[in-house]
Symmetry: C2
Subunit: 358 residues, 2 copies
């Protein structure tokens, strides 16, 4: 049974696309009291970008704390607060930021039309009602959240995406100028999420020609950017934005692999962020992706990135076992990596050793 993938509805792409944001909401502001809910990374509070948002009378803006990865309780509280204030759903929920803020927008917009806590919907195809219109505007590139069919949330019981046909955004705005001011090394770590997506998508059993083609092109863009000697040019900004988009799309037709499974265990126990966490894990995966790990180290060297070492030295062996537990629950990723009999080769011992090296 093949999945009938729902695509992102519209793509507004190009330099200064942000200046056309208002044209997206104008046709939606039909009824009296219509308003747009803008969610921004709190990094932008007081920054110039906020002044460029086409706020109209009644629109709401919320600055999101992204210290931790997105949580179901934050989504639930936000919807509750907005509904109390407005008594009606917004005409669009807009996420301006990185993967976390875009995921917040994608999740929040679903909870205006589906009852109960967002934690009820963590899983595949559990959402029953179409959400309100959702616009995502990446200001840092790499996660692929702008095009993905999932929104990863940490709930009271589990960290799991709300995944399905209702999750992709209705509108994506790709303005390469927006990512020019991303600080180092966050720029690199987030971009490597894309690089690693592609490596994982290209190496595994769930690979398809469509997934591999999109992944190969995205990978090549990443190589051009991070082996160039200067990854921070306007041209490279645009390439990275395109690479992130194509890499995210590639995953729709393939699957992530060893790095994401192990990184997921790392994040659950330590709270280390996805971008840097993936890099810390990937640096130990010579066995799985030998050529690519070499290339990754070369990219770090060229871009003067100093990856933290010994990040797990203060964690107990009990903590490490917990990480192994979590990594092993991601059976579909391991089946992609090592086939249906993956349990024979992906042993607790192997994973434990990898964590110990970080």
């Amino acid at each position: 049974m093949l999945r009938n993938y729902k695509a992102v509805g519209r793509v507004l792409y190009g330099r200064n696309a942000f200046a056309q944001l208002d044209d997206i909401f104008e046709p939606l502001r039909v009824d009296a009291g219509s308003y747009v809910l803008f969610l921004l990374d709190e990094y932008f509070e007081g920054k110039d970008l906020v002044k460029r948002i086409p706020m109209k009378n009644g629109d709401l803006i919320r600055f999101m704390d992204v210290t931790d990865e997105p949580k179901t309780k934050v989504v639930d509280a936000l919807v509750e607060e907005v509904m109390n204030e407005k008594g009606m759903a917004p005409v669009s929920v807009v996420g301006i930021g990185g993967g976390s803020v875009m995921d917040y927008a994608k999740a929040t917009r679903l909870m205006f039309t589906n009852p109960g806590s967002s934690a009820r919907y963590q899983g595949l195809d559990l959402i029953k009602n179409k959400g309100v219109h959702c616009t995502v505007v990446p200001t840092i590139s790499g996660t692929g959240a702008e095009v993905s069919m999932t929104t990863v949330l940490t709930g009271p019981e589990k960290k799991l995406g709300i995944k399905g046909d209702f999750t992709p955004a209705d509108q994506v705005v790709l303005d390469p100028d927006l990512i020019s001011s991303v600080p180092d090394p966050q720029h690199f770590y987030t971009a490597m999420d894309c690089y690693i997506h592609n490596v994982e998508a290209l190496n595994g059993n769930r690979k398809t020609v469509m997934g591999a083609s999109l992944g190969r092109e995205s990978l090549q863009l990443c190589q051009e950017i991070f082996l160039s000697g200067n990854s921070r040019t306007p041209e490279n900004d645009e390439k990275l934005m395109v690479a992130s988009y194509l890499g995210g799309l590639s995953l729709t037709y393939s699957e992530v692999g060893a790095c994401h499974a192990i990184s997921y265990g790392l994040a659950t126990v330590t709270g280390i962020h996805h971008g840097i966490g993936n890099c810390i894990v990937f640096n130990q995966l010579d066995e799985f992706y030998p050529e690519e790990v070499k290339e990754f180290r070369k990219m770090m060297e060229i871009n003067k990135v100093d990856l933290p070492k010994g990040v797990l030295k203060d964690y107990s062996s009990e903590d490490i076992e917990k990480m192994v537990d979590v990594a092993l629950t991601l059976t579909f990723m391991w089946a992609h990596v090592a086939g249906p009999e993956w349990e024979k080769v992906i042993t607790r011992e192997k994973l434990r050793d990898l964590y110990m090296k970080m």
Copy 2:
């Protein structure tokens, strides 16, 4: 001003996707009397594929004559006939075939909801009302019609697409098994439409990073297929289907060039089909795309394709001038090729000479 591109709504991709066709229409068959209108290339009349179509009581099937390229009068007559028979619009118009049949489906579905002749809407953004649901199923790959935002029609006055946000299909079904039986050399000529799209998208002023990335990947797939020594393997079928999709998408973010402009003149006067016509033209374009024309000839040699020669020997110099006239009307293509001052270099004499060599 950037364009906010509307994407194809859903993509059902993979071997034997065709067997899941019914799942697409089931949720649409809500009201009593609901029916689906299937348009097929007449090549399939009496063939096994017809038996595999999930026809329900009341569904209509029409076999389309694609000897000539799609015409506005055929679209108008079809809508009239179907409305007379049914008194209501179908819930989906399905095009199963090549670029012509898919374009017929994309155009026909618009004319159930927009008054008057389809010739009224030839141009950009002239359609005012959303059409009925449209599904396209390519059975030959290369044109990119499965993903494009235009449907090229020949009307009483002009050959011009109905282009805009309402034109892309709602659903595309990409089943590589469907293209395995395409006869030679049609398989090659249609595939070269994709190859040429990519060459044109990659060489010109309207190129963007997104367009170039998609075009580059699609080009590489074409090279792998047609330089491999055996272009007709199941793996190459799948690659070609993906190449056509990515190549079509590439054009959304770029523009066609010299070959399409000149080929358009050729088609208007001689009626030569788009696939073979493009090949005849491209073979003369060393000046514009030197390396790529060399590679194209190598592909013809490897795949034992014998391009017709002297196709214009029976046409008068008046006919040739008419072709030049038509080619020169495609100002946006020439601006892409040679910049805003293209008229200084793209002279009547140059185009005349090219036509004379065909």
